[in-house]
Symmetry: C2
Subunit: 110 residues, 2 copies
DNA sequence: TCCATAATTCATGTAATAATGAATTGATTC
DNA sequence: GAATCAATTCATTATTACATGAATTATGGA
C-alpha cells in the first residue's frame, strides 16, 4: 500500500460516524448491510451517511453492491489487511519475518 | 479500548508527519530514536515534530524516556494492538474466535 | 405514465487543524 | 553561574473538513 492511500484510509476511520459504520460492517460480516439499515442502526441522516460511505468506499474499506433500489455495503477486509501491513512494515528493526506471517492471517475468512 | 481513544489514535495517524514518525519508530524497534534523530531522518522542524510527537504520545502510540538532554521515543506496540482489537471487535458476525487469536499475536516481540 | 422509496449530490455557513516564527524550559559543560 | 544544546510551548494565520437543507438520480410498483 502506498502512503497516500494509507493516509486516506486512516483519515476515513478517524471520524465517529465512519468508524461506527466500519465497525458495524465488520460485525455484520459477509452479509453486509444496506445503507438504510446502517442509517437506522446508527441513527444517521441519509445524506450524512451517504457522504461518509462514499469517503470510506474511496479507500476500499467498504465495498458496495446494488440490490434493487437498495445498495448493500460490506467491510473491505483486504483493504484493512493491507493498511495494517503498511503500518507494521519492516517492524522491529528489520526482523520483518516476525510480523508479516501474523498480518497475513488478518484476512479472517470473511 | 473505548471509542474516544480509538478516534484519537486514528486521527493521530492520519497525518503525514505523524504517520512517518510512527512507522519510523516501528522500524526502529526496541532501540527507539531521539527526537533529534527523528527530525534529522525525516527532515522536520523541531517544533513541528514536537507538536506531532505530543499528539502521538497522548494516544500511547509512542512512548518516551528522557536520556540526558535528549528524549528517546518508541512505538507503543500495546496501544497499536488494542487499536486493532477495537477495529476488529466482534468480527465476522460474532465469530470472534476466528480473529482474536490473530490479533493477540500482533505484539511482535518488540 | 405516475408515484413512492432509496440513495446521492450540491451549496453554504461554521468549526477544527496545521505550519511557522519567536520565546521558553530543562540538562550538560566549561 | 554563564553558555550551549535539545526539546517544548505559545500566538498567529491559512487551510480544510463537517453538518445541514434542498434538489436530484435511480429503481420498483400501481
Amino acid at each position: 500500500m502506498e502512503k497516500t492511500r494509507a493516509l486516506d484510509s486512516l483519515s476515513a476511520l478517524s471520524h465517529e460516524v465512519r468508524l461506527d459504520v466500519f465497525r458495524l460492517l465488520i460485525q455484520a460480516g459477509p452479509d453486509g448491510m444496506s445503507a438504510g439499515q446502517i442509517a437506522d442502526a446508527l441513527n444517521i441522516r441519509a445524506n450524512t451517511l451517504s457522504n461518509n460511505l462514499g469517503i470510506l468506499a474511496q479507500t476500499g474499506l467498504v465495498r458496495s453492491v446494488r440490490e434493487g433500489r437498495s445498495i448493500r455495503y460490506f467491510a473491505g477486509m483486504e483493504a484493512m489487511r493491507s493498511l495494517l501491513g503498511f503500518l507494521m512494515q519492516d517492524c522491529c528493526g528489520g526482523q520483518a519475518e516476525i510480523c508479516e506471517p501474523v498480518l497475513n492471517q488478518i484476512a479472517c475468512n470473511c
